[in-house]
């Protein structure tokens, strides 16, 4: 018998909650409204992970015991990943770090962490995606290409839908702007609202915009039509409800000077109302920052020590792998594939424990692999959407594996 259920998609941090899934016989038959990325999430792994110890097949209980042994024997273990896990699994991970007195960090460490930090500390104003749909009239995609990374972003929230104050939808009521180093899919939709800047010039362009906002003529080291910046500043100033979607392109450029981003937001808010939403990628990247913040006051790069928790660059995943970590627990991530080669090369020499539903590059070198169920498909829980809203995640089918949360709780029992 086939039944249709409403599902929240964990394909990206947009967490679309209107997906209709038909299920018969514990199998997914059809998916409506999910984009191609969400559909891929539902289809699952190319190849499922299996429990291994030292590269050979093992019983799951032995893999868990061996993982605990490695973590206990290490002087300085690192717990890393977390963006593809529910809040519940992340909380268990934080508890494990506290129990071991070790370092915990997430993929947000070299991603949206810095913007989320500013938001949680109240230095950058933010809003929800629902507010964007109902009210936003000017949206700026800066170094962001949602049409590729979050396919339903523009249709569900930021540009195309009719909202309470935007009854005529995108044609008359909304202005989309893209600031980027290349003409992305999103930039194409923005048409004349696309501003192409040279790579690495985001900071300078932002300074130029701050000048233009306050009526000064911006000076730029690169060739750019000053009139266009002035026009852009005028468009931003007129916004009734503006929102900046900060993509990785912006975050990478501005990470050395995050204060400038707050300054830019303050400059905008002297004239109009502007918020910022970080374009978090993995479905619960932001959740990790919220959960760790709640427990320790820090959003990432934390070391538990003598009952306390300290945070600093030296506790970032990159610095820890460079020097320090002598065992790494990876949960729901593929660092061998995603970290810079110089770092992943080092990582290969450190004992790795991988908890993941799928085989990936990291599982090729992991000392211990523990397969877990896929969050939001085989196990439910809660997660934090890119705008900070808490969302319920439901499971669709029964899987063969334990959840990552269960596995971590078992490891905690072993190490205690």
């Amino acid at each position: 018998m086939t039944e249709t259920v409403t599902w929240t998609c964990t394909g990206c941090a947009l967490l679309c909650e209107d997906i209709q899934v038909s299920i018969g016989d514990n199998r997914i038959e059809q998916v409506e409204h999910a984009c191609i990325k969400g559909r891929a999430r539902i289809l699952g792994c190319n190849e499922k992970a299996i429990p291994t110890v030292n590269g050979v097949n093992a019983k799951i209980d032995d893999a868990i015991k061996d993982a605990a042994r490695i973590l206990m024997e290490a002087k300085n273990p690192l717990l890393y990943g977390w963006s593809n896990s529910t809040n519940e699994a992340q909380m268990a991970g934080i508890e494990l770090a506290r129990t071991l007195g070790c370092v915990i960090d997430s993929t947000s460490s070299f991603c949206q962490g810095i913007t989320i930090n500013e938001i949680l500390n109240g230095t950058i104003p933010t809003c929800t995606l629902d507010e964007v749909r109902e009210k936003a009239d000017v949206m700026v995609f800066w170094g962001a290409d949602p049409m590729s990374s979050h396919p339903r972003h523009m249709s569900k929230y930021s540009y195309f839908p009719r909202g309470e104050l935007r009854q005529r939808g995108y044609e008359d009521d909304r202005t989309a702007i893209s600031i980027d180093v290349w003409q992305s899919r999103t930039a194409k939709i923005c048409k004349n609202g696309f501003h192409r800047i040279p790579p690495g010039k985001d900071i300078e362009f932002m300074r130029g915009l701050i000048d233009a906002l306050s009526g000064r003529v911006p000076k730029l080291s690169f060739d750019y039509d000053v009139k266009r910046i002035l026009e852009l500043a005028a468009t931003l100033k007129k916004a009734e409800f503006g929102v900046i979607f900060a993509g990785l392109g912006l975050v990478y450029s501005i990470k050395e000077d995050i204060a400038l981003l707050s300054e830019f937001m303050s400059a905008l808010n002297q004239f109009c109302s502007f918020s910022l939403i970080p374009m978090a990628g993995h479905f619960n990247m932001r959740g990790f920052n919220h959960n760790l913040h709640e427990k320790t006051g820090h959003i990432y790069r934390v070391k538990f020590d003598d009952g306390g928790a300290i945070s600093g660059v030296k506790y970032s995943v990159i610095e820890q792998i460079k020097s320090g970590a002598d065992a790494v627990l990876v949960v729901g991530s593929d660092p061998i594939a995603s970290l810079p080669v110089s770092i992943s090369r080092r990582l290969k020499d450190i004992p790795i424990i991988l908890i993941d539903p799928c085989m990936n590059l990291t599982s090729q070198v992991a000392d211990v692999t523990i397969p877990c169920s896929t969050s939001g498909i085989e196990v439910g829980g809660t997660a934090v959407r890119m705008d900070g809203k808490n969302m319920d995640i439901t499971s669709l089918v029964q899987g063969d594996n334990m959840s990552d949360e269960m596995i971590i709780r078992r490891i905690i029992e072993e190490v205690e």
């Binding site: 209107d18 997906i19 209709q20 059809q30 998916v31 409506e32 409204h33 999910a34 984009c35 191609i36 990325k37 969400g38 559909r39 891929a40 749909r133 049409m147 396919p151 339903r152 523009m154 249709s155 569900k156 929230y157 195309f160 839908p161 009719r162 909202g163 939808g169 995108y170 899919r185 999103t186 194409k188 939709i189």
Partner: protein
Amino acid sequence: MTSAMEIYQLLPKTNCKECGESTCMAFDVALLSGTKRFTECPPLMNEDKYSDSKQKLEEILKPLEGAEETGLIIHEELCSGCGNCVVACPVNVANDSHGSGRGLGPTNNKVIFRVVDGKVKAANVKECRRFGKDKILCRACIDPCPTEAIEFV
């Protein structure tokens, strides 16, 4: 969109008349208007030296054969299921204002576009604003598409 010239270049260009048209050029026009199918050119079908051209023609003309009577073609292989067309099409908005009109997946069957298994599907195409007595040259599904997956022929 493929031009008539591109198609012509793939035909044998011998004007042998076996297809019943007086020239390959005339056959090309017949292909475009849909009165002939490319399989009706015997040399193209039977002679090995045209096998590459035959394969290319197949690729080019297949979507055309799938065109709705209204001329709407969706290139599924390009579609990312983003839903921009779903939310932008005025027929979707009028017939499902609380669903598609507000950015959600369609909540009834009166819409033209909906995304199924990650790809857009069209239905009720006769309601498209490009047809009927008050027709307009609507582009509300074409322009918002990030991948040029929708066209009208």
